[in-house]
């Protein structure tokens, strides 16, 4: 059977030709709108709720064990981390996060979630190459840039002598 001479353009369709810039602009018109304000409100409410729970736990430690607010800080963080790990293990934390966004990512619970989720996920590759090597996969950059930021802030303090001023008066 003969090959039909149906090469490109025989039907007169325009070929797909758009620059990356044109296409990006065109594709954006089809994207569902992202409700920034609702997202901010949700993040505010959930993030605030997590902080309020933390405050409650701290007050509990202060009242029940006669701690100062500073002494109650560490056990409070530990309880929040424990709660976040339990919620992560139960498969709930990621569902909260889809709704809450930054509200559940920024508090210490988000940090705990990033470590525990990676540990659970990579358990199948063993304790060393799996859990150990991957646990800080997401949290690692938080630590790295946290230390870098602290260093820069420290240098600024040192250069302008703010630290010394703080020491003498504080």
């Amino acid at each position: 059977m003969a090959v039909k001479s149906a090469g490109s353009g025989s039907k007169g369709y325009k070929p797909v030709s758009m620059s990356a810039k044109e296409y990006k602009a065109f594709a954006q018109t089809k994207e569902p709108s992202r409700s920034v304000w609702t997202n901010c409100l949700r993040a505010f409410l959930v993030g605030g709720l997590i902080c309020a729970i933390g405050q409650g736990i701290q007050k509990f430690f202060m009242a029940a064990f006669d701690m100062t607010s500073k002494q109650a800080g560490n056990p409070t963080v530990a309880v929040l981390i424990l709660l976040a790990v339990i919620l992560t293990s139960m498969g709930v934390y990621d569902k909260i996060a889809q709704c809450a966004g930054a509200g559940s990512a920024v508090p210490v619970t988000g940090f705990a979630n990033s470590m525990s989720s990676a540990a659970i996920e990579h358990r199948s590759e063993g304790l060393v190459l799996g859990v150990g090597a991957n646990m800080f996969k997401l949290a690692g950059s938080v630590i790295v840039y946290g230390v870098v930021a602290a260093f820069i802030v420290g240098v600024v303090y040192w250069l302008f002598g703010i630290g010394a001023w703080h020491d003498t008066t504080g």
Binding site: G7, Y13, A27, A97
Partner: protein, 337 residues
């Protein structure tokens, strides 16, 4: 002569899809097509200790079901053409190990369903094989783990993101028998219009679908109206409207047919939390083999064109700021005459 135009195959001895096997996970089991799948698992683990093993189990089960439906034994299958999304296509390779069948591994990301069916059809039509199996799988958690974040990590997905289908679809293609026939296939070329966002695959893949549909129609001399439906693989809520618009702009009379998308059919997009819709290798595989072929068998449709789309990115490539190369392969399936 099989080749028509530059990249379309028109089969003079149309191979027959003798049987199919489809297996899905819990979310697909809550979708509108739930009753059409051969096996629905109530959980994502499927009794396996790792996500990778779960995905493999899905493909093995789909293969077994397809063989049962075709009343064939493993020894009667000449070749298995398969692929998936995981590094080194381990799901297909390990499933092929279990099947013990000569194996051709292919990678087309989510276009693997139709890539494997096109190759299987070519092998059978040319007489290079009597019975050839084509299949693919994907698992929501293996894909999240490899391409994005750990499954339980709390990250907020944008509305353009898509939800990877957990499942596997396998077909057995033969020279003779009862079943729908594969009359033509058009192999895609890489299209990349500069989208870099891995959470917007639909927009990245839409131009590939448009290019393949246009080439298929031009090279086979068919008009959209030749088909009762033209169904894309996983363009979903963002990509499908883009493709619809582009085809219209390019002067393709798509109003002659129904233009559908597997990614929008597999879930109830409004009720299930799947963002823009379904994606993954299994998306077009299970929708085609379970749902679309049933509509042909029922006589609702006579001719369909399935255009499976794939985003050929890797976690490395997008982290290095590369754009997303995409492809689409089209296969024409018709009721037996």
């Amino acid at each position: 002569m099989i080749l028509q135009g530059n990249r379309s195959w028109v089969f003079q001895n149309p191979p027959v899809i003798l049987a199919t096997g489809t297996v899905v996970g819990p979310d697909e089991g809550q979708g509108p097509l739930a009753s059409e799948f051969d096996l629905v698992h109530p959980d994502l683990e499927i009794g396996q200790p790792s996500w990778e093993k779960s995905e493999r189990a899905l493909l093995e089960q789909a293969g077994d079901i397809a063989l049962q439906h075709a009343s064939l034994k493993q020894g009667e299958i000449n070749f298995f053409v398969g692929g998936d999304l995981l590094n080194q296509i381990i799901s297909s390779t390990f499933a092929a190990r279990t099947l013990g069948v000569p194996y051709l591994g292919v990678f087309g990301a989510c276009s693997t369903s139709m890539e494997s069916l096109a190759i299987a059809s070519l092998i059978v039509s040319s007489g290079a094989g009597k019975h050839v199996m084509a299949g693919t799988s994907s698992h929501n958690c293996t894909v999240e783990k490899q391409f994005r974040y750990p499954t339980e990590y709390g990250s907020q997905k944008p509305p353009t993101a898509q939800y990877t289908v957990t499942g596997a679809g396998v077909s057995v293609v033969g020279q003779k028998g009862d079943g729908p026939v594969v009359t033509a296939a058009t192999i895609g070329k890489i299209m990349d219009l500069g989208i870099t966002d891995p959470f917007n695959m639909g927009a990245a893949m839409a131009p590939a679908a448009v290019d393949t549909i246009q080439s298929h129609l031009e090279e086979t001399g068919r008009s959209p109206g030749y088909y009762d439906a033209i169904v894309t693989g996983d363009l979903a809520g963002v990509g499908h409207p883009i493709a619809t618009d582009m085809l219209k702009r390019n002067g393709v009379p798509m109003q002659q047919t129904q233009f559908l998308d597997c990614g929008l059919m597999i879930y109830d997009v409004d009720k299930q939390k799947v963002q823009a819709g379904g994606s993954g290798c299994a998306c077009s595989a299970v929708v085609t083999y379970a749902h679309l072929l049933k509509r042909i068998a029922k006589g609702e449709w006579k001719k369909i064109l399935v255009v499976a789309t794939g985003a050929l990115l890797s976690p490395l490539s997008y982290q290095q700021g590369e754009t997303i190369p995409c492809i689409a392969h089209a296969v024409a399936i018709e009721a037996p005459s």
